[in-house]
Point group: C2
Chain length 454, copies 2
Amino acid sequence: MKNKRKQHVISTKPPSGTRDFLPDEIRKRQYVTGVIRDVFEQYGYEPLETPAFENIETLLGKYGDEGNKLIFKILKRGEHEHTGEADLALRYDLTVPLARVVAQYQNELPKFFKRYQIQPVWRADRPARGRFREFYQCDLDSIGSTSPIVEAEILAAVCDALTKLSFSEFTLRLNHRGVLAGLLAAAGVREDLHGAALVALDKLDKIGVDGVQKEFVARGIDDRSAQACLKLFVDAGGPGDGSAADAVARIEQAIGAVPAVENLRAIVAAVEGTTAGQRIRIDRSLARGLSYYTGAIMEIAVADLQGSLGGGGRYDGLIGMFLGRDVPACGFSIGLERILVVMSERGMFPATVARGAVDIIVTIWNADRLADAIALAAELRRGGLRVEVYPEPDKLGKQFKYASGRSVPFVTIVGDDELAANAVAIKDLRSGDQTSVPRADAADFVRRRLAHNG
Amino acid sequence: MKNKRKQHVISTKPPSGTRDFLPDEIRKRQYVTGVIRDVFEQYGYEPLETPAFENIETLLGKYGDEGNKLIFKILKRGEHEHTGEADLALRYDLTVPLARVVAQYQNELPKFFKRYQIQPVWRADRPARGRFREFYQCDLDSIGSTSPIVEAEILAAVCDALTKLSFSEFTLRLNHRGVLAGLLAAAGVREDLHGAALVALDKLDKIGVDGVQKEFVARGIDDRSAQACLKLFVDAGGPGDGSAADAVARIEQAIGAVPAVENLRAIVAAVEGTTAGQRIRIDRSLARGLSYYTGAIMEIAVADLQGSLGGGGRYDGLIGMFLGRDVPACGFSIGLERILVVMSERGMFPATVARGAVDIIVTIWNADRLADAIALAAELRRGGLRVEVYPEPDKLGKQFKYASGRSVPFVTIVGDDELAANAVAIKDLRSGDQTSVPRADAADFVRRRLAHNG
């Protein structure tokens, strides 16, 4: 009987793979996106936002067969609804919308268009721990120039953002598509096997040297080339302790002064005078999965953390997809959801974010004092505090308990004595201390205590 | 031939009824939502965000037949795609998701849950000027108390937000569902015609007294009741010049000291000590279309502006829809999109928002100076400026032109002389003035100029 009834009850959970963000979680998300946004804007990257859905033909075919299946499609409306056809689809990433925007507004956008975009995307993936059907992407892209300044500024902005989020032990791995090709050629790997070799190399972190060696053989790379590869990429290729410039010089010894080496050297030189200068690690084995990169490849590596907090690179062939010509582009995608998880696990949020939303609750002495409570709240707000008014004339103990339960550090009490003396009693719910202060000084008093105790 | 080819070209416009927000537009939107957010948080309202889509059964049937047709439905995926069935639907408003959240997290949320939510909603309306298929709603709701403090705090928060956005000539119209019912009864309107009478009264602004009179008759209200209505609502009922307390007293004379009058009086008294105190106008004829209001009704009225910038009221019967019981609730929806239009039309954005994103562009003297340009940019950013580096060693004139075209007020020039003297030439592109300053003072110099000239 109970089960039978349950079938008629609508679930109030959010849809599978999506999340409701309650206030504490939003505060964390707003903090992180706020820091990133501020840094990006210091660098002259400008915000862009695009609609949640695109015309379906804009998205279909852009993400491969697998991607096509994961796109959420929106049913036609009205008389067409019964056809079961879709004409719109939810945004799957931020790159295709950017390519559309670059084509649509080519006469309005600056010649060098530096944009960031922080918006959700939707993928009908099977939900799993850390994998959602609605999640935010945070992309930074620089369109219109092939100058090494583009890569250097992206690396510096990413470095500043991570530092402001109080990540300290991280490096920025840097490689170049042309270096990968040059080293594979030097090792004698046939060009048609380059892709296969890179897929194997990309697993180095996970499966180790022996594993990569086996993968090479399984993918049809002859033993001699496989050995040469491991020598060139692994023995000589790790980030090492030397400077990035030294690492570039060693690559030049292996494959000559090809354009990719010159480009990498120029990027390293450009980044030198920024805070990212000390963070750069040339890593020959960095391949990243995406085949659309055409130049530099970059990735964040954090000490004691598997995987990456973000990555990117130059991809001159993609942004012009709706224009029918190549457009220089270099981008970086910051792993916002991952950063939030890591910062929560490691307790990296500042006390002001962790503490909650309200500084003080104005309690109600009795039912005749509602207007005075609201007036006091207005005074405290003018003094810069975030103030909630307890709405009902409950017993004071109940009001205190409510405030404690919400982790609000202070409450006010205005009893008959305080009212007569034009004073306010401020109770610190963490220590239990109660102090009576002149009403005009109440906001200052609380602000000082907050600054002192967090 | 040309037409034939065009059919194969994918449109790069955003889907019908949606908008791409380019940087200048986003800056305005971020400014407005930032101001509103800050004010709401000062009042202890906390942020909530819910997924873009809901399970379809959560939304269907909640918005009437007309609403059902306007819901964007998402096709089932994978093997079910061919059935043409939908299992998800895009958020249509922020109230149903709030009701779902209140039911789902009833043990985690505070007893008095004050939340704001600023997120897009989607409606398959026919697009028109000012009517979009994707638009933002900005809702403020207070759940869990019937205290007049709830209404007073909402009115004060809305008033502060509008004031901070530099609206000066506005009032907050206030009425009460129970007052409407009492006045209609006093006028002799049969209870089953109350709804019809309110619909007619709601058009007073648009069609005038004569129009309302005709509507009354058309809706079956006898002539005598219609006359009495007009007398009670219009002649005696306008906001007038008297105090809100006086207006409440006059309503009491007409319908007695019923609970609605007492509630209205308590709200007026509670709001007295806030900045909203002087803004309140009791307006007997304010009905607002939505039939779900159960208590106070409120609306923003701006001088010289047709329609409203937002409204709300108490609706104790709705938020508990998934709990199967009434839950006290009072809310206000700020017309974010309308506010943006009005502020743009009236030039109400501060100069810092209008000016654009970048304070200064670092120009490139020649191809050997890329690294120095980036280092200078890093110094200026540390000095608090938003800095873009021109990425290519183009002729200086071209670089200046680019900066002017982007409305960037300053550029740096580091020629051979400046480099030797450890100086930077700062050119003000608005006046043409060029000043050479010690490199260490460059950021301060620009900051002072910006503070002075906007």
